[in-house]
Amino acid sequence: MKRNLPLLIIAGVLVGAFVVGVLLYRAMKPAPDKTQNNPASMAAPGAEPPHTRGVANAPVLLEEFGDFECPPCGQLYPVLKEIERDYGERLRVDFRQNPLVTMHKHAYDAARAAEAAGMQGKFWEMHDMLYEKQSVWTVAPDPRSEFQNYARALNLNEDTFMRDLVGEMASTRVALDLRRGKSLGVLGTPTVFINNRQLKAEEMTQDGIHKAIEAALKEKGL
């Protein structure tokens, strides 16, 4: 009996761990929302409010998951600007933070810099600045001092900006956006959703995005 005692203890702990895990899972599992059944609406909500450009109730919502240090995101930036001009009030653009921290060592700081600027009402100005100056700060020895220069150029309060950059709110917003991306199956950047439909890689051109927006407008009878 004594020889088998440790085996019994181990089996007991295994069963106990499993039972505790199942009970915790049942207690924490969110109740399914039966009123919503499309994958994007069931996904994690992301940071609230999202960074939005355009009209709130526009018929087409373009949601981009971007990484300021990712070169293809930098290439998509002028394309999206042009598309925004083309569609005007028919298009709303949301930007979601998706820094690929394993590949881009300054992406997380850049995401937080944009959030810090957003706290002073200039998210999009910093967003544009980060993409336009991507080739500068990504190779700078101290990107944070570059971000501070951009904050100065945007007439932000520099002390507040630098404090917010490392503050909890910026990191929480980035984390929430990352969680939304993860729940939607975002694997890389840029990833674009148009009215909750993820664009395929071959659609990520100016022409492809145009066609997707046109199709979304047509679906709405516009």
Binding site: K2, R3, L5, P6, I9, I10, V13, L14, A17, V20, G21, L24, Y25, M28, K29, P30, A44, L100, V101, T102, K105, Y108, V166, E168, S171, T172, V174, A175, L176, L178, R179, K182, S183
Partner: protein, 169 residues
Amino acid sequence: MSEAETKHLSQGAGAEGSVATQRAALSRLHLIAALVSLVGLADSIYLTVKHLTGETVQCTLLSGCDVVLSSAYSSFMGLPLAPLGAAAYFAVFSLATLAAFGYRGMRVPLLLVVGVMLLMTLRLLYVQAFVLHHYCEFCLLSALVTLTLTGLMLYSIQVPGLKSQVPGR
């Protein structure tokens, strides 16, 4: 009985007593390791459940749980770290319990598992300190448990005559 025979018997009894003391000390160390690993197991189970439900993990003492746990570093070779940690702590608990009860051949795998866990812990501590600049208290608790286990394993190696004198069953 001659004087020489009496001395020999007395030395033999002393050596047996010493081995018994070392065995008891080692058993206690393994028992402590088993109990400590249960703390890590509970921590990992909690994080595994949070991972499965997709809920945000809120820190109560620090502010970076969500940052750390939603980062790319929260998985290893595509596998989330939380269930891997739970499996590792359960392995440590099992091996340490068997070793505490005198089962043979448990110490080397126990040292290996704790060694691997130490490497993973050091990696995650580095990432929290120098990459993410945020700390997750659940990860720090796990790190504390692994460091304690490492300390216990290092101490167990120091028990004299361990290799040759601890008989198994």
